[in-house]
């Protein structure tokens, strides 16, 4: 039997039963590879359920830094007989299957290497309590893998010690379980696996974290003091991360009181209402949610847009429509956020591509919302939000100050002859606002969602209302100055064709571009990071004959937005759409593009097209 042989370049998948404690063992395995200096991307593919259903955990290790999901599994750890059939079918030819051989099975795959480890039998005597045995069994396969893949056992021991710090009693049984697996493999599975991990230094300056953790931290760094939220997968851990870091950094040392507010609201309507109320008062506030929450919040979003109140909304996108696939990833709320609410509304969106950008955009979003006095959506997704990514370390410039926008102080008001809440004094469409309690006689006004004039007075005069609506649009048209610019994958344009992509697709783009180049189809690529679009986006489209827009949704929502906002000829824009709920793969993109390029007369290079 031939065996897949590789060093620091493989995909391993764990098939478990949810609620069995497997995720933390699998996470530990991923972290051990990261600590060995190899970039890694663990992805938890879990059901919307607490206990008993199949759950998977895919880990891709890649010295090349290709960290997107890749179909085809090199090594499968099959721990769930319920899903054996499907799991075994996924294994690449010459790949490996490790299963609990306490109950022997035939798998009817002649082309794979089957590694039998009697996990249950091995622990039955050492751990008589069936409940803890279930947990320790996970450490046994981790121990076996440590031997099989040649990952330093000490790395695992250190991770166990860190994980159970404060619960010392748990350290030695976990190490014991690890040793049982390691020793069994050493004795019975010598040379059984040719996939190896070799120490490297490719993760220096890198961290392993998820986007929700990063965004919660970014909110603390961005000066948010109020988080109002309602539990919804996959955004919950963002709010929890904010709370975790506030508990670390925002407790008053003298009084023990909280220099922040963390409110679990009764629903999404209340959570956005609270965030708006706090921002109206000048306290930076945000809410975190997912698609269904955005649907509920849209009336309030329109109020904040029209009354010009800053507010930050994190949308950790999941599979829709309706309840959809709540534990799977998608980029399918582009349009529902861009144009959220009734009437003419358009909203600023920031689209991070990895946890580092989640941190940065979270912190930036409060400056942008305050500057523009408008809602700002940060559109992450489940893949970035809940999975750990290998990404560069977070950075912060200590000279940075918050941009709180045009807020009038008591002194400002004292020296002003007159003031109108919605007067465009500077010609940028952005008016000056006042906060309640600032001045005893000046600056009070009535905030409302009904039509109003420059002095915030209720009006039903259509001319005044149209003037106000046009001013708000002016604000939006100047917004790109404050937003992150697109990122290009090439110094200058080398191809007649271009790819536009965004968000978590970043994980696979370099791999896909390399693949396309090796197949003779080099192609330019640009990653959109914000809406409204920068002029660079129009230039890029203009400079290429055809544009592929890669999206993780069915309806080509970004394409629609580009066509609508840029008045672009739709015939020029070709969609590459993945919407099965699994993170997009490089192969999916490359195959789709190669199909088109080999099929038509589309030019391959910029030279050809001249």
């Amino acid at each position: 039997m031939s065996k897949i042989s590789s060093v620091n370049e493989f995909v391993i998948k764990f098939a478990n039963v949810n609620g069995s404690g497997s995720a933390s063992a699998n996470q530990m395995f991923a972290k051990a590879i990261f600590r060995s200096g190899i970039p890694v991307s663990p992805k938890n593919i879990f059901p919307s359920n607490i206990q008993g259903l199949p759950t998977w955990f895919e880990i891709r290790a890649s010295a090349k830094g290709y960290l997107g999901r890749k179909a085809g599994i090199d090594f499968m750890v099959a721990m769930n007989p319920q899903s054996y059939q499907q799991d075994v079918a996924e294994i690449n030819s010459n790949g490996y299957l490790l299963y609990d051989s306490s109950w022997k099975r035939e798998f009817h795959r002649e082309d794979i290497n089957i590694l039998e480890v009697p996990l249950t039998s091995l622990v039955v005597d050492t751990f008589p309590n069936p409940k803890t045995r279930l947990l320790f069994k996970n450490l046994v396969y981790v121990g076996a893998l440590s031997y099989l893949m040649n990952i330093n056992k000490q790395v695992f021991i250190k991770l166990i010690e860190e994980q159970f710090k404060g619960k010392e009693k748990l350290i030695s049984p976990n190490i014991q379980a690890l040793e049982i697996g390691f020793n069994y493999a050493e004795k019975n599975l010598k040379d059984a696996c040719s996939i190896k991990v070799q120490d490297a230094n490719l993760t220096d300056g890198m961290i392993l974290t998820n986007g929700n953790n990063a965004a919660g931290l970014g909110c603390v760094y961005g000066g948010a003091t109020v988080c109002a939220w309602y539990p919804i997968t996959p955004s919950t851990s963002l709010a929890e991360s904010y709370k975790k870091y506030c508990d670390q950094f925002r407790i008053d040392e003298e009084t023990g009181k909280n220099n922040f507010a963390f409110v679990q609201a009764e629903d999404e309507l209340a959570s956005i209402g609270m965030a708006i109320g706090a921002n109206w008062n000048g306290a930076r506030a945000f809410t975190a949610t997912s698609g269904p929450g955005i649907s509920l919040m849209t009336e309030f979003v329109g109020l904040a847009y029209f009354a010009e109140i800053p507010v930050v909304l994190f949308n950790i996108q999941r599979g829709g429509p309706s309840t959809g696939m709540p534990t799977r990833t998608q980029q399918s709320d582009i349009l529902s956020c861009a144009y959220a609410s009734h009437g003419d509304t358009k909203h600023v969106m920031l689209i991070p591509a990895d946890p580092k950008e989640c941190f940065e955009f979270a912190a930036d979003s409060f400056d942008i919302a305050d500057r523009l006095q408008t809602p700002v959506f940060v559109l992450s997704d489940l893949d970035i939000g809940m999975n750990d990514w290998t990404c560069p370390e977070f950075e912060w410039d200590d000279t940075r100050t918050f941009d709180r926008g045009k807020v009038l102080s008591k002194n400002d008001l004292d020296t002003m002859e007159s003031w109108g809440r919605y007067l465009d004094v500077d010609g940028d469409g952005i008016p000056f606002r006042t906060l309640p309690g600032t001045h005893p006689e000046k600056g009070a006004y009535f905030t409302r969602g009904s039509s109003h004039d420059e002095y915030a007075r209720y009006i039903e005069d259509g001319v005044i209302n149209a003037r106000n609506m046009s001013r708000i649009l002016k604000k939006f048209e100047g917004a790109h100055k404050f937003l992150p610019k697109p990122i290009f994958k090439q110094e200058t344009n080398a191809s007649a064709n271009g790819i536009i992509y965004f968000g978590s697709t970043e994980a696979v783009m370099q791999e896909s571009l390399d693949e396309l180049t090796s197949l003779g189809f080099p192609i330019d690529a640009m990653r959109i990071r914000a809406f409204p679009f920068n002029t660079d986006v129009w230039d890029f489209i203009d400079q290429h004959e055809s544009i592929f827009i890669v999206e993780q949704n069915r309806d080509a929502q970004m394409r629609t937005l580009i066509v609508a906002e840029g008045d672009i000829n739709p015939g020029k824009l070709i969609s590459v759409l993945c919407f099965d709920g699994a993170p997009i793969t490089a192969k999916f993109i490359s195959d789709s593009i190669v199909d088109v390029l080999s099929d038509t007369n589309v030019s391959k290079t910029a030279e050809d097209s001249k």
Binding site: I207, L208, N259, L269, A270, G273, M274, A283
Partner: protein, 351 residues
């Protein structure tokens, strides 16, 4: 013009309060509600209460939802910031505003449609959270702005202007608020200024959720014979359980009460609430009894008014959340941002 400019010339000899302000300094723009609307009497009572307490308008925030009632914050306290939010969602906006700055006095103004209909969820949760707000419901049992549909507080069997009978039992907001743990619950009548003003003053001084459900007849759509929210009906069926005096800190209690009928309730800031029980059976500190009496009154077709329930021991939302005393909107960049050195430690913990 859809707003009406109000003359600002004041009579030079107008009476002044401790801040040197006259009642007119507490006014708002001219009301655009129907002539005789109960809501305008409530606005007048709010002006009177704020004047009496010598409150500084800029330290008050007025918030409302949507409807006739929610328009009324425009008609008082011109120097206070106002926020006319979305239908039924004022409680959440007020909750957020309060989290941003707990030092302001929050006046929530809502109606029976806004609170008992579309916004009942937010109302209930604000009460349950003990949001520090004076929550006024201008309750007329009807949707005025959309021309006279029944609201959820309309009594079963009560007739609409068009002769239709209301088929459903009413929601009693006061009873509901008491059950949800609101610290201060009163009911009054827009036509009874003597009862309403002290009740408003006490509510504004109360730290926690204070509801005043004010029956406020709609002269256009719900003031006819057969309506149980008309001026005539309320005057005939009003049963007051208590008479109230609000005594600010350091002032003497001057009113004489019949023996055995006086109850003193100290408030958070040391001010005193003095109650005269008009019904010997009624004790507003007893939650169970308050609910029971409301139920009995409903059966008898009476409208129980006055301070129905008070719990001076409650902690407000910010206190429950252990939020620092300094308003969260007043923290500086340095106080909020942990800086790069701490970030380096976080980075180290993630590799």
């Amino acid at each position: 013009m859809t707003y009406i400019v109000k003359p600002v010339n004041h009579h030079p000899n107008l009476e002044k309060n401790d801040l040197g302000l006259t009642r007119r300094d507490y006014e708002g723009t001219i009301s655009t509600l129907c002539a005789g609307c109960g809501h305008d009497s409530i606005s007048a009572a709010v002006i009177e209460a704020c004047y009496d307490l010598s409150l500084s308008s800029d330290q008050i925030a007025k918030l409302s939802g949507i409807g006739c009632s929610s328009k009324s914050p425009s008609y008082f306290l011109n120097q206070a910031h106002g926020f006319n939010s979305v239908h039924g969602r004022m409680p959440s906006v007020a909750t957020g505003a309060n989290l941003g700055n707990q030092n302001l006095l929050y006046l929530g103004v809502s109606g029976d449609g806004d609170t008992a209909g579309i916004g009942i969820g937010q109302f209930m949760h604000a009460a349950r959270r003990q949001l520090n707000i004076t929550y006024i419901v201008e309750n007329n049992g009807t949707y005025g702005l959309t021309k006279g549909q029944f609201s959820a507080t309309n009594d079963q069997g009560s007739k609409s202007k068009y002769g239709e009978e209301n088929l459903f039992a009413p929601i009693d907001l006061a009873a509901m608020a008491i059950q949800l743990g609101a610290g201060f619950v009163g009911r009054s009548f827009s036509g009874d200024k003597d009862q309403l003003v002290p009740l408003l003053k006490a509510a504004m001084k109360f730290k926690g959720f204070s509801l005043i459900d004010i029956i406020s007849p709609c002269v256009t759509f719900n003031n006819h014979a057969g309506s149980t929210k008309s001026y005539d009906h309320i005057r005939e069926h009003n049963e007051s359980v208590s008479s109230l005096d609000f005594v600010p800190i350091g002032q003497e209690i001057t009113t004489n009460y019949r023996e055995g009928t006086k109850v003193d309730v100290p408030l958070h800031d040391g001010a005193l609430l003095t109650l005269e029980k008009l019904s010997r059976k009624y004790n507003p500190l007893d939650k169970g009894q308050a609910v029971q009496r409301l139920n009995e009154a409903e059966k008898d077709g009476k409208v129980l008014t006055g301070l129905l329930y008070i719990n001076p021991e409650v902690k407000d939302h910010a206190e429950i959340l252990n939020i620092t005393n300094k308003p969260l909107n007043q923290f500086t960049d340095d106080e909020l941002c942990p800086g790069s050195a701490k970030l380096a430690k976080i980075n180290a913990s993630l590799n």
